[in-house]
Symmetry: C2
Subunit: 170 residues, 2 copies
């Protein structure tokens, strides 16, 4: 079982966008994260389709979060990039073979499917309990209040401020 | 994110093995589940490598659980078939780009990786809280105490008892 690698980039981008004072071009996010622009654009488009970010057009255009980071959960981002389908797909094995259970009596998921669905729900609940604001807060907790501020300064520079004495963290 | 389809077959096979009174050949499990023998053999070999089942050699040979089904969790089976690696793989994005965090200061996982690891732990905890015995119990709860007994009868027949008036459920 493996999540799309885009989940990691998308989460980091969302945390970065919490500190931006203006729309951030996709190319600028790609530069900050040292990743191909086309690859990151794909993740940003997924976030946009899910209504988590929007693209502001124009000379000073770029991406912004569509709502407060307190209202965007990690689950929202994971679902946007990786899809909403559960990891376990029941193929109704019980309806196969010489002792098959008749379809009409299969009115609820079988015990195997229920156990897997419970675990999936626990995973989603954990991801849904953490917001992008929580992640940004944790970055400041981990690295000090200048961490995100350093990114903000870099983002607002015309060509970035590569000499900033800050670590880029999220 | 998607689990290997073999997880479903492996879990159903383990539940079936709880009711068997003798070793069950892989071909018999494949017949019961109406799946290719070579495909099912692969899952049984994964269970065997993980020490959950063992193959008894000889004319009356076949697969048996290596321990009480109370001591085999759904997580054991999922891990045996799908591997133990977490769904989210952190690639240390924070160490990339013009504001990279120096490697030596990355002494703990970043907030994104921690949030994903917590969800993974919740998923594993849920799967680890359900045993194969629980699943077998739930089958009897769902379909009545004759459900697994019907499978037992079919398995013990020389060529199976395809006319058994029982539903095959797990």
């Amino acid at each position: 079982m493996k999540l799309s690698g885009g989940v990691e980039w998308a989460l980091h981008c969302c945390v970065v966008l919490t500190t931006a004072t203006e729309p951030v071009p996709a190319a600028r996010l790609a530069e900050l994260h040292d990743v191909s622009g086309s690859y990151l654009a794909k993740q940003l488009q997924a976030l946009s389709r899910a209504g988590l970010v929007t693209s502001v057009q124009g000379k000073a255009g770029g991406y912004v979060l569509t709502r407060s980071p307190e209202l965007i959960t990690v689950l929202d981002v994971v679902t946007a990039v990786d899809g909403a389908q559960p990891a376990f797909v029941c193929t109704e094995i019980r309806q196969r073979g010489p002792l098959a259970t008749p379809r009409e009596t299969c009115t609820r998921p079988c015990p195997v499917a229920r156990a897997m669905a419970s675990a999936d729900a626990a995973w989603r609940a954990a991801l849904g309990a953490v917001t992008i604001a929580d992640l940004a807060h944790d970055v400041d907790e981990d690295y000090g209040p200048t961490a995100l501020a350093g990114i903000r300064g870099w983002l607002s520079g015309p060509d970035g401020d590569d000499t900033a004495d800050q670590h880029r963290v999220p």
